[in-house]
Symmetry: D2
Subunit: 214 residues, 4 copies
C-alpha cells in the first residue's frame, strides 16, 4: 500500500524547501512493505488543500505524513495538533494573506495528530537525530494542510500527521541573523525512521478521548 | 457586574508568581463599571479546575481572564487556543505528572479564546507594553485551566480567555541562564488595559465559524 | 567629587535610548558623597570619542560608567573587556560604517574594565535586578567609547567601565520580533546601586596581571 | 609544511567532541601542498597549554587552527579575539575551576586572530555552510588555548586562530532543551575549506594597527 509523503514548493524568494527535498528523496522507497509516494504541494492557501485532496483520492494511502519547513527550529518537530485557524502575517506564494479565518467553517476547533508522536520522537533521538514534539504548527499554510488532512481522514483509521523540518545548511548559510539547520541526509534518514515507526508503533501521544468524534 | 481575574499560586520552589501578584493588585478595582474579583488557583491538575468552577459559580462574572506565568517569554502573551491535552514534563505542586490525557474526555479537541485578542494586543502595545499573541498555552496546568474555562462558558455569551505573563525582575535576577522579565507595575497596568479592551472591544481575532458549536 | 555617567543619543529611527534616559535621571544625585554628572554622547564614531574626552577633562571624575543599549539582552550587562576593533555592520548616526579598523592605532588589543564587575552584578541581583557579566561589548560605537575610556584612564587610578542596558518596554512594544525589556525605573535603580558598589567595592573580576601596563 | 589542527577531548560526561572528530578526520590530508596534522588537547586548564606548546615545537607549522565546541551556536563560529582572562563557571576535566585569573601574567590583554576571518566566513557561506564571526571565545579552556596560541606565535609570521563548532546531531539528540547542531560531514568540509582559505587568502578582518607589537 501507499504512504503519502507531502512537501511544499519553495516559499517566497527561497530557491529550495527541505520538506520537498526530503519527500522527493524518499519517493519510491519501500518501508515495511509499503511504498512512499511523494507529492509536492503549493505554498498557497487556495492551492494546497485541493492538491492534498487529489493526492489522497488518487493514492488511498495507509499512512500520511505532511512535511513543512520551520526556519528557526533546530530539530525535527513533530506536530501534535492542528487548529482551525488561518492567520497569515506574511503573504503566501499567491500573494494572499488571509487573517482570522477558519480553515474550514463548521469544522472542529482542532484535530490531534493520529501518529504515534512520542514513539517517533524517541526513535529519532535514539538514532542520533535531534527531534521534539510541538504544540503549534502555526496559523499559515502548514497548519492549514495539517488541519485539512486530519479532517479528511477523521474516522478512517488511516494515521496521519505533520512534521516541521529545520532549514537546510545552505539556507542557513544565506540567513542573517543565524538560524539553526540540519543536513539533508540527516533529514531524509530521520523521516525514513519516522515513517517506519508510524507504520508499526503504538499510538502513545494522543489523548484519545479528547478529540471530538464529530 | 464582576470580572473574574485568576492567578496561580507560586510554582515549585519559586516564592512568588506574577499571575497572582497582578490579580491581587487589581482586586476590587472598578473597570468600566465592573469590579475585578481576584481568585488564586492552585498549581495543581487536581485542584485548579474545581477552584475555577467554584469561582465561576460564586461570581457569575461578565468577563473572565485567567493569568499564568511563562518564564522565557518577554511580553504579555495573549493565548488564542486551549487544547484538550494534558502532558506534564514536570510535576505540579501536588507531585502529579499526568501524561497524554485529555483535560476532559469527550470534550472538543480545542477551544478558542472568546476575547478580542488582537484589539487587546494592539492596545497594550499602544500603551508601551510589550505584547503578543500565542498559539500555544502548553499542556500543563495553565492550558488545563484555560480549556476548562472555555468549556465551562461555551455558549454562555461570557467572554473569557488566558494570558501568560513574563517572569518578574526579581525572579529573573535569580535565574541562570538569564530569562526576560517585566516589572510588576507594568504587568498590572497592562492587564488593567487588557480588561478594559476585553469589556468593550470588538472580537477581532477568532475564527467564529471554526469553533464547534457543541 | 564627580561621577561621570554617560549615555548615548537615540540610535537610527529610535526616538529614545535607555542609556541616556537612565543617565539624565541620575544627573545631580549624590552617591556616597559624590555627584553624578550625566553627559550625552553622539552615536557616532567620529563624535563620541571627543565628547567623552571633553567630559573627562571638564569633570576630572573619580569614577566613570559609560552606558549603552543592547537590544536583545534581558539584563543589565556589565562589560568586562573593550577591544581595539571597529567593525560596523550598520551605519552610525552620521551614516559612517567603518570596518576592520582599530579604535586607536598602536594601542593595546584590549582593555579590561577596572570596575568591581562581579560585586556590581551580585549587588544588582540581590536587589532583584536581572544582571550579568558580558565578555563582548561588540565592535560598534559602544565598544569604541568603552575602549577610548579605558585607554584614557589607564594608570590613572580612576575606575571606569561600561554597562549595556536592555530595551525599554516602550521600545519592545514596537519591536518585531519580540525583544526582552526592562522598565526605566528598574534600570535607574540598578545603575544607582551599581555606582554605589563601584565606589566602594573591592575589585573582584579583573585579572590584574593580565592587562598590559603600557 | 605542516598545518596544525587541534581539537579537544570530550568534555565532562559527553562521549564525543566535534572539534576532535573534525580534526582527526582531516589528519593527513594535503591542502595546497601542506599536510594537516591533528592533535588532541585535554579539556584542562593545566594540561592544554603544554600540549599545545609541544605540538607547536614538534611540527613547526605554517598555519594553526584550534577548534572547540560551543553548544548553543548554530554555525561555524570563527573567533576574532582571545582575551587574557580565565573565569570558569564550571569545572574542567581535572575538576579545576579557576576564576578571574590571567591566562598569562604580564601578557597583553588580548590577541587578535591572524587568520583572514572574513574571507574564511565568506568562503564557507558560499559553499553552503552556516558560518559567522564571533567577538568572544569565552573565558574557559577554549579561550585559554586561543590566547596561548596567539601569544606563542606573535611576531612569527605564522597565521593562527580559533573556530568554535556547533554540537553534533547525536549530541543535540540527547540535549534538553534543544540545541542547534551541524552534521559531522558538513563540519569536516567546512574546516577543510577554511584551512584552504587561511593558507591563501588575504587578511581581511584584523585591525593590523590595533594589536600590540610587543
Amino acid at each position: 500500500m501507499n504512504i503519502l509523503l507531502t512537501g511544499f514548493e519553495p516559499f517566497g524568494v527561497e530557491p529550495i524547501n527541505p520538506s520537498w527535498e526530503v519527500a522527493r528523496a524518499l519517493h519510491g522507497e519501500r518501508i515495511a512493505g509499503h511504498t512512499v509516494q511523494a507529492r509536492r504541494l503549493p505554498t498557497s492557501f487556495a492551492g494546497a488543500p485541493p492538491a492534498l485532496a487529489e493526492a489522497l483520492a488518487e493514492l488511498q494511502p495507509r499512512l500520511v505524513l505532511a512535511l513543512g519547513q520551520a526556519s528557526g527550529r533546530s530539530e525535527v518537530s513533530i506536530e501534535r495538533v492542528a487548529i482551525n485557524l488561518i492567520d497569515a502575517r506574511i503573504a503566501d506564494n499567491d500573494g494572499a494573506r488571509p487573517q482570522d479565518q477558519p480553515v474550514l467553517a463548521g469544522a472542529p476547533a482542532a484535530w490531534f495528530s493520529t501518529l504515534p508522536v512520542k514513539a517517533m520522537r524517541d526513535a529519532l533521538r535514539a538514532a542520533g537525530h535531534p527531534a521534539g514534539l510541538s504544540l503549534s504548527a502555526g496559523a499559515f499554510v502548514c497548519n492549514q494542510v495539517f488541519f485539512a488532512l486530519q479532517q479528511h481522514l477523521a474516522g478512517s483509521g488511516v494515521r496521519s500527521g505533520f512534521a516541521h523540518l529545520p532549514a537546510l545548511p545552505e539556507q542557513a548559510a544565506r540567513s542573517q541573523p543565524a538560524v539553526p539547520s540540519m543536513g539533508l541526509s540527516g533529514q531524509i534518514d530521520a523521516i525514513r525512521i519516522a515513517l517506519g515507526v508510524a507504520l508499526l508503533g503504538e499510538d502513545s501521544g494522543r489523548p484519545d478521548e479528547g478529540a471530538p468524534t464529530s
